[in-house]
Amino acid sequence: MRATRSPRNPALAGWSRENESTMPSALPRADPAPADGLLPSSVTRGWAERDFGVYVHVPFCRVRCGYCDFNTYTADEVRGVKQSDYAGQAVAEIQRAVEILDATGAPRRPVSTVFFGGGTPTLLPVTQLAQLLGSIRDAWGLASDAEITTEANPDSVTAESLAQLAAAGFTRVSFGMQSAVPHVLATLERTHDPERVPLVVEWARAAGLQVSLDLIYGTPGESLDDWRSSLELALEQHPDHVSAYALIVESGTKLARQIARGEIASPDDDVQAEMYELADTVLAERGFSWYELSNWARDAGTRSRHNLSYWTGQDWWGVGPGAHSHVGGVRWWNVKHPAAYAERIAAGVSPAAGRETLDEETRRTETVLLTSRVADGLSISELDLPGRGAIAGLIADGLIDGGAAIRGRVVLTLRGRLLADAVVRRLLGS
C-alpha cells in the first residue's frame, strides 16, 4: 500500500501507456545520462532566481493497491537489497548531488522545500527519515521557512511517530485518505481504517504539523453522494490543504486488468467532471480555493510550495530509485529498481538512467503546459503569435478568464480546468 496518492514528485508517474512495460511503470526514453552525473554549465543560467528543493523517494509499501502504478515494491528484500539499507544509499546520493552541483561553479542554495514521497515513506523508521533530512540539511542547509513534507498512510503513523517527525524538522504531513466510503476504499484496495483518519489528523496537528488530505474521486461504483460524504468527512477534520484526483486507470495495474475483464466498470469522464465541480463548490464553501487543477488550500501560506515548484520551473533534486530531477533546463531520472539503484550507488556511478536537455522551444512548451495548470496562470507573453491568436476563442468558449486575459494572464475557468489539456493544445497551436 502506497502511503498517499498525492504530492508526488519524481518517482511516480506511469509511463506504461507509451511503453507497455510491466509494473511498475516505465521511464521515459531519452538520452543516456553520463556515468559521473555531471551537469552542463548551462544549468547555472538564472540560478539565483530559482528555488532549490529535494524530493526523496521511498520505494516501499506493505501491499500494492489495485490502481497504483507507482515505483514501489512490497518485499522486505528485493534482489538482495534490504529496505533497511536504503536510507544509507539515499544519503550517498545526496552527498554526490552536492559535489555535482558544486562542480557547476554555482553557489550552494539553501533548500526551500523537501518532500518525502513513495511508496510509503513512513514505512521507514522515523530515525531514518530524520537521518535523511539531516543529511540534506548538512549538504545545503535548510531555508529558515523551509517546507518539509512527508506522505503518510493513516495506518503507518502513531501520535509518537508524528511528534518525532515534527521534532526532526518536518513541518507538514500529507495523508492518503482517498475516500471515507468503505466500498470505494475496497475497490481501490486501500486497507486503512477510515475511522483512523480523524485520529491521525488530530495527532499531526497536536505535533504542530500542517495537514493535507489526499482524496480520489470517480472510482467505479462511487456515487455523487459517496463523494460528497468523503469531502464532508475530510473537511470536518479541518485540514490545511486538500488534493483531489480523478482516478486514472493506468495500464499494467490490477485495476486495468479488472476493467479489461469486465469485472469493474471503467471510470466515467462525465461523472468525474461532475465530481470535480462538486469538489470545487464544497471546498469553496469551506474557504478553500484552488491553486492548481487538483489542489486546494486555505490561503497562500498553506499551498504546497514543493509541488508548486514543479509547475513554476524551479530546481529540484530527486533522490532514490525512479526519482526525477530538474536543474536549469536539464531533466533526468534515476534507474527504477531499488537493486539497480543500490548497485549504482555502491559502484560510485550516477543512478541516473536517462536525461534530456530542454531547448528553448521545449522549455516554452513546458511553461505553457505547466503554468496554465495553476491559478496564477500563464503569462500571455510566453505565447507565440498563433497562441495569442487562440486567446479570444478560448474566452468566447468560456475556457479562460476574460478579465485575467486582459491583464495579460491565461487563467482557466472552472470549465477550462476540466478541459485543460484541450486548452493547452489550442494555446500551442496544435
Partner: protein
C-alpha cells in the same frame, strides 16, 4: 483407365478432330483449381516436383481468396484407345462481376465441366454460368467434387444436377480433386463427349480474344481461340474493333509455361505477344485477323465492358495521392475494365472516382492497390450510375452523389436494374422474399431445384444490391443463400439525395442517392453511426440528415466535459510533454469539418459500417 499420352501433338498442325476445348464451371471454393492442378499432374504437363498448389492461379490474392480472376488456357496431351488428343483447358473467372469475360471464355470452348461441391450443391453464380454455357451450345459434363469429404451427399446432388441439365444421376461423375479419384475417367469422358472444334482452315484468319493479361517483362499476353485460318510468327495482325496493327512477336501455347510454336491452327488455343503495353489494345471479345489478308466479318459477341459500380478511392495519408495515381495507371495495364478520374472530397481530400464491373471487382482492385502498392485506402460507399433529367430537359449521368443536381427541378431519375437470382434452401424463402421486397425488388419467379432448394428470381435496382444486400442476404440465411445478377435495363424511380451534415456542414463522403421511402432510414443509420464514431468536442455537435434544406433525422454529440489529466508532478512532466507532441501528430490525421475534428478512422468506420471501434478516451 487411360495412360498418360506418350507423345504430344504438334501445335500449329494438329488435326481439329483431335482437339478438345473445355472449361470448368464452378463456384468459389468448390475445388476448381485443385481439380485443374490434378489434371496437370495426371496428364504429365507439370511434374509432381513442380506442382505448386493451384498452379493456374497466378496472383497471391487469387490464391488466398480461392478465386480465379484471370483465365488462362493450358494444353494437355491425353491418350484414349490408342489415339492421342490435345486437351485445352480454359480457366474461367467464377464471379458474376466478370460475366462478360466468362461468356468469352465459354465461346472459346465446345464443352464445359460443371463442377459442384458434393457437400454443398450448385450455387447461384454457377447456375448463371451454366445458363451461359448452355446458351453457347456447350456440351456439359456434370461432376461432383470433394466426394472424399465426410459431409458429401453425392446421391442428393447428383439428382439435383440431373434434374437441371437432363440425363440421369448416374451420368454425374464423382471425383476428388484432392485425392485424384475419378479424374482419369473425367479426362476420358472429355475426349468422348465434347465435340471437336470446327472451322474453315483455308479462310481468312479469325481468332477470338478470350483473355488479355499484362506481364511486366513481356507486355500484354493475349489468349486466343483460333476459329478460322491460321496465325504464324512474325505476321502482322490486326485487331478488328480498333483496326490497330501489330507485329506478332511470339505465338505459342501454355503447357502450362508459355511455349512458342510455329503458329496456331483451326480449333487451337494459345497466346500472342505483340509488345503492346496496355490491355486496352487487346480487348477481350475482339477478333484478331491477318493484316495482309483480313477477314471482313468480326466474330459476334464483342462489347465494351461498362462499369456498373462507382466508388471514390482515397489514400488515408494524403501525401500518397501520387502513388495512388501511379498505381491505378499500372493496374489499368492489366485490367481493361477499370476506369477512374480524379476527384476531391472535403472530408477525404484528393482521390479518384473509379468505375468497376461490380462489387467484387471493386474489392479486388482495392486489395491489389493496398497489397501491391503498399497503399492505405478508404473507399466511399459504392454508387451506381443514375440518369437524371431536369425540368429544362438537361440530362446527366450521375455516378457520384455529390454531382446530383441541386437547385434545379428534377423531372426524372432513372436507375439501373438487375435480374437477381438467389439460390437457397427452401426454409429461407420467406426471409429472402421479405429482404428483396424491402430492397424494392419485384418477384419474377421461383423454381425448385431438387427437393429442398429453391431459385428465386427478382428484378431489383442495382443501387440496392450494392448497398448492403449481399451481407444481409448472407446473414439472414446463415450463409446458405447465393446470389447472381445481371444488368437488365433501367427504371424511373423517386430518388433523392440525402446529405449528412455536421454542425450544419455537409460531409460529401456520406451523401447518398436513395429512394425517397428509404431516405429516413439512411439518415437515421448514418446519424446514429456518426454519433457513435465522432469523438466528443469542446462544444455540442449536431449531426443531421437532410434532403435539400429539409432535415429528416438528427442526433447530437454532447460537449466533452473533461479533458485533463488530474496529476502532473515532477515525474510526469516529460511524459506529459511527449503525450502532447503525440497528440499534435495525431491532429494531422484529423479532418476538419467546420470546427469539428473528425478522425480519419471515423470516416473509414462510418463508410464501412464498423462502428464498434470508438474509444471514448481517445483524443
Amino acid at each position: 483407365m487411360s495412360p498418360r499420352a506418350l507423345k504430344s501433338l504438334e501445335p500449329a498442325s494438329t488435326d481439329p478432330a483431335k482437339i478438345r476445348n473445355f472449361c470448368i464451371i464452378a463456384h468459389i471454393d468448390h475445388g476448381k483449381s485443385t481439380l485443374a492442378d490434378r489434371m496437370l499432374g495426371i496428364t504429365g504437363v507439370v511434374s509432381d516436383r513442380d506442382m505448386r498448389a493451384q498452379y493456374l492461379d497466378r496472383m497471391d490474392i487469387e490464391r488466398e481468396r480461392g478465386i480465379t480472376i484471370k483465365s488462362q488456357a493450358v494444353r494437355m496431351p491425353w491418350a484414349l484407345n490408342g489415339d492421342t488428343f490435345a486437351l485445352n483447358m480454359i480457366d474461367t473467372p467464377g464471379h458474376v462481376d466478370f460475366t462478360y469475360e466468362v461468356s468469352r471464355s465459354l465461346a472459346a470452348c465446345e464443352g464445359a465441366i460443371l463442377l459442384v461441391d458434393a457437400a454443398q450443391g450448385i450455387e447461384a453464380q454457377t447456375l448463371a454460368n451454366l445458363y451461359l454455357a448452355l446458351d453457347n451450345d456447350l456440351t456439359i459434363i456434370p461432376v461432383l467434387n470433394k466426394i472424399d469429404l465426410p459431409a458429401a451427399d453425392p446421391d442428393k446432388y447428383a439428382k439435383e444436377l440431373a434434374s437441371l441439365i437432363g440425363g440421369t444421376p448416374d451420368d454425374v461423375l464423382r471425383v476428388s480433386g484432392k485425392t485424384g479419384m475419378g479424374v482419369t475417367e473425367l479426362l476420358d469422358r472429355v475426349v468422348e463427349l465434347i465435340p471437336a472444334p470446327q472451322g474453315d482452315p483455308n479462310g481468312p484468319a479469325r481468332a477470338m480474344i478470350f483473355d488479355s493479361v499484362y506481364d511486366t517483362y513481356r507486355g500484354v499476353v493475349t489468349y486466343v481461340r483460333m476459329i478460322d485460318g491460321k496465325l504464324s510468327p512474325r505476321e502482322r495482325i490486326q485487331m478488328m474493333s480498333t483496326k490497330a496493327v501489330h507485329e506478332l512477336l511470339e505465338i505459342g501455347v501454355s503447357s502450362p509455361e508459355p511455349t512458342p510454336t510455329k503458329g496456331l491452327g483451326v480449333g487451337e488455343v494459345g497466346y500472342l505477344i505483340t509488345g503492346v503495353k496496355d490491355v486496352r489494345q487487346s480487348k477481350v471479345g475482339d477478333t484478331v485477323t491477318n493484316a495482309a489478308k483480313p477477314s471482313t466479318d468480326a466474330l459476334p459477341g464483342y462489347t465494351d465492358p461498362k462499369p456498373m459500380v462507382f466508388s471514390g478511392l482515397y489514400p488515408i495519408d494524403g501525401s500518397d495521392y501520387p502513388i495512388l495515381r501511379e498505381a491505378l495507371d499500372k493496374l489499368k495495364l492489366s485490367d481493361a475494365s477499370l476506369n477512374y478520374e480524379p476527384e476531391t472530397s472535403v472530408a477525404l481530400g484528393f482521390g479518384f472516382r473509379c468505375g468497376f464491373l461490380g462489387l467484387l471487382h471493386l474489392e479486388i482492385v482495392t486489395e491489389r492497390l493496398e497489397r501491391e502498392f503498399g497503399l492505405d485506402l478508404i473507399a466511399t460507399a459504392p454508387s451506381v450510375p443514375y440518369e437524371v433529367t431536369t425540368e429544362d430537359k438537361k440530362h446527366f449521368t450521375v455516378t457520384n452523389p455529390s454531382e446530383f443536381p441541386t437547385g434545379t427541378k428534377i423531372a426524372s431519375v432513372s436507375e439501373p436494374m438487375v435480374k437477381a437470382a438467389i439460390l437457397a434452401p427452401k426454409d429461407y424463402v420467406g426471409t429472402i422474399m421479405e429482404l428483396c421486397q424491402s430492397k424494392r425488388g419485384s418477384l419474377l419467379g421461383m423454381e425448385y431445384l431438387g427437393e429442398d432448394r429453391v431459385e428465386i428470381r427478382y428484378a431489383m435496382p442495382l443501387g440496392e444490391i450494392v448497398f448492403d444486400f449481399f451481407d444481409q442476404l448472407k446473414s439472414k440465411t446463415a450463409g446458405y443463400a447465393s446470389l447472381d445478377y445481371e444488368p437488365s435495363g433501367e427504371q424511373d424511380a423517386d430518388l433523392v439525395k440525402v446529405d449528412i451534415l455536421l454542425q450544419g456542414e455537409a460531409v460529401d463522403a456520406f451523401s447518398a442517392i436513395v429512394h425517397r421511402d428509404k431516405a429516413y432510414a439512411y439518415g437515421l443509420l448514418m446519424t446514429e453511426r456518426l454519433k457513435k464514431l465522432i469523438p466528443r468536442q469542446q462544444f455540442e455537435v449536431p449531426i443531421q440528415a437532410a434532403i435539400g434544406a429539409r432535415i429528416i433525422a438528427r442526433e447530437s454529440i454532447s460537449a466533452m466535459r473533461k479533458d485533463v489529466l488530474a496529476k502532473c508532478y515532477g515525474g510526469d512532466i516529460t511524459r506529459k510533454r511527449k503525450l502532447l507532441e503525440k497528440q499534435k501528430e495525431g491532429k494531422k490525421r484529423m479532418k476538419m469539418v467546420g470546427r469539428v475534428e473528425v478522425p480519419q478512422e471515423a470516416f473509414i468506420a462510418a463508410l464501412s459500417g464498423d462502428v464498434e471501434g470508438k474509444d471514448p478516451k481517445k483524443k
